[in-house]
């Protein structure tokens, strides 16, 4: 592929997007170069590319599916996830309980559906926190420069020096969630801890794109015309850096969900009676239980992995679409 693009000598905007998707159809292929005659913005260029990627549609569908599951679990099951029938403990999957029952006689299917909420909330809240806090710090240090920049970069280095999982264990161990704490509060605490450990990567990204954009002539021109710093940031700097920040955030979202599950698996983080995939997997993963009732492990693991996969795949596909060199 590298050979063909090099030999053809075409500029990237007029190259027909490479597509494996048969549904793209001949019509859209023909129209693509025609549209390329006009200068397309990076956003619409990326969208043209994304539309033809099956990976994009698969991950988008999975994300919508899991977010719906987290928001409205009642749509997917009418079984009460807190109803336990001990006499049916560890029953294999059946028409009555699709994914079987766990050691307490809970319906694994219902609990897997309700478990989406905790995982996805942690992922979204932690990502939002890093996105907002990291962007603000990154823009201030990139735009302001000077001692503000040095101080915030040093502080960022300190937080980057603590590996995510180790830091998560340390902080959540030190501030354990009380047993009667509502789920939302525990989720917010965990998201906050992950956000505190994760913001420097976004801040660095934002800072470097600010430094890249700032010396450009059009920014100097805007400043000469009397634009305030806030206007320069919102209309010149943000649009340039947002793409890469959003890509990294999407991939991080998957990673945060994975870390939250790992914390629950290690017995810190969310605690029963809260329902989460990590807790389910932790309860199912003793070696005796894996042999006796593998479905207890299999179904929550599959849902967790599919969620992480969806977010990472989305970030990946969008990054490829935004980077014309990868085509």
């Amino acid at each position: 592929m590298t050979d063909t693009t090099r030999d053809s000598g075409l500029d990237t905007t007029s190259v027909v997007p490479v597509t494996i998707d048969p549904t793209g159809g001949p019509e859209s292929r023909l129209s693509a170069p025609a549209k390329g005659e006009r200068a397309r913005s990076l956003g619409s260029d990326a969208w043209q590319e994304l539309r033809h990627r099956p990976m994009f549609w698969i991950s988008a569908a999975l994300i919508v599916f899991f977010v719906l599951m987290a928001a409205f679990p009642q749509l997917f099951t009418s079984t009460d996830p807190y109803f336990a029938d001990l006499s049916k403990a560890r029953e294999a999957p059946s028409a009555d309980a699709w994914f079987g029952r766990d050691s307490q006689g809970y319906d694994v299917y219902a609990r897997t559906i309700y478990g989406a909420r905790a995982s996805i909330l942690v992922g979204i809240l932690a990502t939002l926190f890093t996105l907002v806090f990291g962007s603000v710090v990154g823009i201030i240090s990139g735009y302001g420069g000077g001692w503000v920049d040095s101080v915030s970069s040093r502080i960022g280095e300190i937080f980057l020096g603590i590996p995510l999982l180790l830091g998560g264990i340390l902080f959540i161990y030190t501030f354990p969630p009380p047993l009667d704490e509502p789920l939302v509060v525990s989720v917010m605490k965990i998201a906050f801890v992950l956000g505190i450990l994760g913001w420097p990567s976004i801040a660095r990204l934002m800072r470097s794109s600010v430094l890249q954009v700032k010396p450009n002539d059009y920014v100097q021109a805007a400043r000469a015309l009397g634009a305030t710093p806030s206007r320069i940031i919102s209309s010149h700097i943000l649009p340039n850096s947002l793409a890469s920040v959003i890509v990294v955030s999407t991939i991080n979202l998957g990673a945060y969900i994975s870390v939250e599950a790992t914390l629950s698996f290690l017995g810190i983080g969310l605690q029963p009676p809260a329902i989460s995939w990590g807790i389910q997997i932790s309860e199912a993963s003793s070696i005796g239980l894996i042999r006796a009732a593998p479905y207890m492990l299999l179904f929550p693991s599959a849902f967790l992995s599919a969620t992480v996969l969806a977010f990472i795949m989305m970030g990946d596909v969008v990054r490829d679409a935004l980077d014309p060199r990868m085509r």
């Binding site: 020096g161 603590i162 995510l164 994975s258």
Partner: protein, 306 residues
């Protein structure tokens, strides 16, 4: 070069001070260090008063921190509630974890780089798609799922490897090492593929081809070496992920290493062991990254000459 090394060493000092300060403040000043010291009950006030006096918690924060740092420099990570020094507990378990980590590093670099190179030189072909898709799955499936499934399939059902690795011999650690390396392996393969693809478009590769060099020589000598540099940085960062992964892997395969010690200390609410172990691991992580940074300066002269 010497200036670069010294600058890196000096930059390290505020990071170490900051990291230990954050750990200290969150555990001893903001948190309650007596949690779990008296089992599930709250501690009696007399015990708390004695504990606070013993651990200098009645002094001003900055004095507390300096005393704590003084102990840390002398290798004192605290004493757990069995009366054992945390450092001794770690020292006795260190060889097993080191062996597991080294084996995982070998697995991830060898397989990751090979897969990445194969995918990078055959972009868009079957091998490339296979590597891209399979690494995506490896990254998405959490390590504890991979570990539990590997244990069930290769340990219990097929019987190829021991189900648990209690003695921690090299043979017993093969499966845990693969599990521990799985996600990092995928990251290395993807990083290698992307670097290689980018370097293959560079002008010097075109020149090498125009000179009439064989493809093997262009890729093997010119491109590969340049593409390996970011992978080395990644391995430094990855040591942190391996430490986290070791906690999960050692728990699943019942390996008597530092990770399992940390896991059991969490379960027993043995605060001194948890905090001491994590402090020690974070410091090791920082030093490994310092070494990688210095090595990076040697490998890529552009870095050290700015």
């Amino acid at each position: 070069m010497g200036k670069y090394v010294i600058r890196r060493l000096l930059q390290m000092i505020p990071v170490i001070i900051g990291v230990t300060f954050i750990i200290y403040v969150s555990v001893y000043a903001l948190g309650d260090p007596t949690v779990g010291r008296c089992g599930e009950r709250a501690c009696p006030p007399g015990y708390i008063a004695k504990f606070r006096a013993d651990y200098n918690l009645d002094k001003p924060l900055i004095v507390q921190y300096l005393l704590y740092m003084g102990n840390l420099v002398q290798g004192d990570l605290g004493t757990n509630f069995y009366g054992n020094k945390v450092l001794d507990e770690l020292a006795s378990r260190w060889p097993t974890t080191l062996r597991l980590g080294t084996m995982a590093l070998v697995v991830e670099t060898v397989i990751g780089i090979t897969a990445g190179v194969l995918a990078g030189i055959r972009r868009g072909k079957f091998v490339d798609n296979l590597v891209t898709v399979s690494t995506l799955f490896l990254i998405s499936i959490p390590i504890f799922v991979i570990g539990s499934v590997a244990q069930l399939v290769f340990g219990v059902r097929l019987g190829w490897f021991p189900v648990t690795s209690t003695q921690g011999t090299t043979y017993q650690l093969i499966m845990p090492a693969f599990v521990l390396a799985s996600a990092s392996l995928a990251y290395i393969a993807r990083l290698m593929r992307a670097n290689l693809a980018e370097n293959l478009r560079a002008d010097y590769v075109r020149t090498a081809k125009a000179k009439g060099l064989t493809n093997a020589r262009t890729v093997g000598v010119h491109t590969l070496r340049n593409s390996l540099i970011p992978v080395i940085t990644f391995i430094g960062i990855d040591v942190g992920a391996l430490m986290g992964g070791a906690i999960v892997t050692e728990r699943i395969f019942n390996i008597n290493g530092i990770g399992n010690f940390l896991y059991r200390s969490i379960g027993q609410k043995d605060g001194a062991s948890v905090v001491g172990t994590i402090t020690c691991l974070v410091l090791i992580y920082l030093f490994v990254n310092l070494l990688v940074d210095i090595l990076y300066g040697f490998l890529d002269p552009r870095i050290s000459h700015d």
